[in-house]
């Protein structure tokens, strides 16, 4: 029982981080149709900038607010001056461009912060441990488990009930029609890209107290996020959430029950999904 609960917590907290980065990826794909390889680099940048501002003003919360906003501004610039130029071209241009951005950002991080590792402390209020069945368990991980669904829920409300959310959904469904009814689609695209970037950077900032920072830390998580997005269904909101939880739990329980097969489980799942249900568990447009 205690093992079960611990593994449940382990899986859920990891899944929440995966969710935050996957949701940005999936929104950007859903609306702009862009497969953004640089997404993991924004995640990394979010973590580094959070650390930077946290050290500057000695507050984790300031870091977590300012860091992702700065990355979102960078995302805005990237969309406005780079991505926009290639929307009409072949998809391979997108892949090359976003991959190039990834390489540039990796090197930039190495130049600014050096090649070494960094660790970030969680804020005091979240830094302790609590007792779970005679095991100590970090509060910060429980915080992740709670914050994930909260962010997910507020996003869902935003897309369902606000006017702007509806505009975004309309632009995603039919660009020409949306323009026809007077929606400024190019503005919507820019803001969605910046918003997706912000989510990824927020994921990075939240992950910072939990994993070490090093150049290229985004490359590791991007692969898993892509698996989440494919499993959940490209562009699907619910899919990203369910997919992320699924992968998180699969990895934590896999460690116990699958032995060395554990590392292959996400890929096996990916292959199964691609064969049985290529659109993913949830269809696009929810």
């Amino acid at each position: 029982m205690e093992t079960f609960v611990l593994n449940l917590f382990n899986g859920l907290s990891w899944g929440m981080l995966l969710f935050l980065i996957s949701i940005g990826l999936t929104i950007i794909f859903g609306v702009l149709g862009v497969l953004n390889f640089a997404h993991g680099s924004f995640f990394m940048l979010g973590a580094y900038l959070c650390m930077q501002f946290m050290n500057l003003v000695k507050s984790f919360w300031i870091g977590i607010i300012i860091g992702p906003i700065l990355v979102a501004i960078l995302g805005l610039v990237v969309e406005r001056f780079l991505l926009r130029k290639i929307y009409d071209r072949d998809i391979s241009f997108q892949l090359l461009l976003t991959f190039a951005i990834l390489l540039v950002l990796d090197d930039a991080v190495r130049l600014i912060w050096g090649p070494g590792y960094y660790v970030v402390e969680p804020p005091l209020i979240l830094s302790g441990v609590i007792n779970v069945f005679n095991h100590t368990y970090p509060v910060y991980r429980l915080f992740l488990i709670i914050i994930g669904p909260l962010i997910g829920l507020s996003l869902l409300m935003f897309f369902k009930f606000t006017k702007y959310g509806k505009m975004i959904r309309a632009s995603a469904l039919d660009k020409e029609m949306a323009e026809g009814v007077g929606i400024n689609v190019s503005f919507v695209f820019t803001s969605v890209f910046a918003f997706g970037t912000w989510l990824s950077a927020l994921g990075g900032a939240l992950a910072a107290p939990h994993q070490s920072l090093a150049p290229s830390m985004g490359e590791r998580i991007i692969i898993e996020s892509f698996i989440v997005v494919v499993v959940g269904g490209f562009g699907s909101f619910t899919g990203a959430f369910v997919g992320a939880m699924f992968i998180g739990l699969l990895e934590s329980f896999g460690t116990v029950f699958a032995g060395r097969l554990q590392m292959a489980l996400p890929y096996i799942l990916l292959i199964l999904i691609l064969i049985v249900r290529p659109t993913g568990l949830f269809k696009k447009g929810t």
Binding site: T3, L6, N7, F9, N10, G11, S13, W14, L17, D106, R110, G114, P115, G116, Y117, Y118, V119, E121, V129, H135, T136, Y137, P138, Y140, R141, A207, H210, Q211, S212, A214, P215, S216, M217, E219, R220, I221, I223, E251, S252, F253, G254, T255, V256, G259, R260, M263
Partner: protein, 406 residues
């Protein structure tokens, strides 16, 4: 007409400058191959810093045999095929005089058998698999640093003195992690026959890309061992230590040994989050050797990069100087002569006196283990006390290495 004259003039100037350049001493070329990108690029960057410091010092002091030294750096990305391509490029295109590098045991195992075809000596500075100076050994391949068997033998010696009977492991899921565990089991069993080891399904080998170790930590803690031998390194080790600490892993229930825990980059990143009193090992510890040479190395490294040298920085630095000494001993950079000179070479390095054993080309060098101790004045935990395991004592005798030099 004047156009033709211009072209003619340019050509003459070009030819002249080429001629002048070839009069100047041709640089000696050293090819370095390390992981320069991806999650473990930290190691390549440190190696590059160590190498560049050595080259700078050597060139300031008149080069090697009166010729300046030039370094060529290539990215192995940690993948065997990429590393091999990088090495081919260095040998055939850049025409380097010697190769230095290799971070991963997996890479080394693939690359080493191909080196004789390229007829260029290679000094391995990081990859620790015993096989490259064991059953895969060949005339062209040397290693300047501790191998895993040496390091783990020291670990087993420590473990044998502890009152822990049941041992388990957490290690990276590739050659290094698995071999470390095998050697640990073998040596510890020899030293203390009544120990037990957990079966393969109970130990934990998280994949390289893992950042969340919680499920592995839970698994190890639930299996209730007396001692845990950890061979994780780099970012993996940092993540593991932090997450394990929060989950109560270091509360004193188990004896813990970390085979590469005393890497400066790991200790610096962890700062005061590194639990005190943990036994950690390393290939080079910047405070272990109080020689003038080491003090000078640590100081010039710190002045140049603002950090204490890691074992990988030391490895690249050491190999560059070992090549210098070999070339000077041979009086030439002829590759076969350098190989002969490297065999049995004795050299003082920042780590101490090192001998490259002629029979298997493995460096006989001391292994360092110590208990972590955090000082407020320093950004990283130091080792106090430090135990130095004599090089000869931890090195496998030639008969055990399975090396048949060809």
């Amino acid at each position: 007409m004047s156009k033709v004259r211009n072209v003619l003039l340019m050509t003459i100037i070009f030819l002249l400058s080429v001629a002048v350049m070839s009069f100047a001493a041709k640089p000696i070329k050293i090819g370095y191959v390390y992981i320069m990108s991806g999650p473990f690029s930290t190691y390549g960057q440190f190696a590059k810093q160590g190498a560049e410091l050595a080259i700078e010092e050597i060139n300031k002091n008149g080069g090697i045999l009166g010729r300046p030294v030039k370094g060529y750096f290539e990215d192995s990305t940690g993948k065997p095929d990429v590393a091999l391509r990088a090495i081919r490029k260095l040998v055939y295109q850049e025409k380097v005089d010697i190769l230095i590098g290799l971070d991963s045991s997996g890479v080394a195992k693939t690359v080493v058998p191909s080196i004789p075809k390229m007829k260029t000596p290679l000094i391995i500075t990081h990859a620790a698999t015993p096989d490259v100076t064991g059953k895969l050994c060949n005339k062209y391949v040397f290693r300047i640093s501790l191998n895993l068997a040496q390091n783990v033998k020291a670990a087993a010696t420590l473990a044998s003195q502890m009152d822990a009977k049941k041992w388990t492991t957490v290690g990276p899921d590739y050659a290094f992690g698995h071999q470390s565990w095998e050697y640990f089991k073998k040596y510890l069993k020899q030293m203390k026959p009544d120990v037990e080891f957990f079966s393969d399904s109970e130990v934990a080998f998280p994949p390289f890309k893992t950042t969340d170790f919680s499920s592995y930590i839970t698994k190890i803690m639930n299996s209730n061992p007396d001692g845990v031998f950890i061979s994780l390194w780099g970012g993996n080790l940092i993540d593991f230590v932090r997450q394990a600490k929060e989950m109560g892993f270091f509360n004193g229930k188990y004896k813990v040994l970390m085979s590469l825990g005393a890497a400066t980059e790991v200790l610096t990143a962890l700062g005061d989050k590194m639990p005190d009193g943990i036994w950690v090992g390393t290939r080079y510890w910047f405070l272990a050797n109080n020689s003038e040479l080491n003090r000078k190395f640590v100081k010039s490294y710190y002045d140049k990069y603002g950090a204490y040298p890691s074992y990988n920085a030391h490895g690249a630095y050491a190999a560059t100087y070992a090549f210098k000494k070999a070339a000077e001993k041979a009086g030439t950079t002829n590759k076969m002569a350098v190989i002969k000179a490297l065999e049995g070479l004795k050299i003082e390095l920042p780590a101490g006196m090192v001998e490259i054993r002629a029979e298997d080309h493995q460096a006989i060098t001391d292994a360092h283990w110590g208990q972590t101790f955090h000082l407020k004045e320093l950004p990283l935990s130091i080792l106090a006390p430090v135990k130095v395991f004599d090089g000869i004592g931890v090195t496998r005798p030639i008969e055990e290495t399975e090396c048949r030099m060809k």
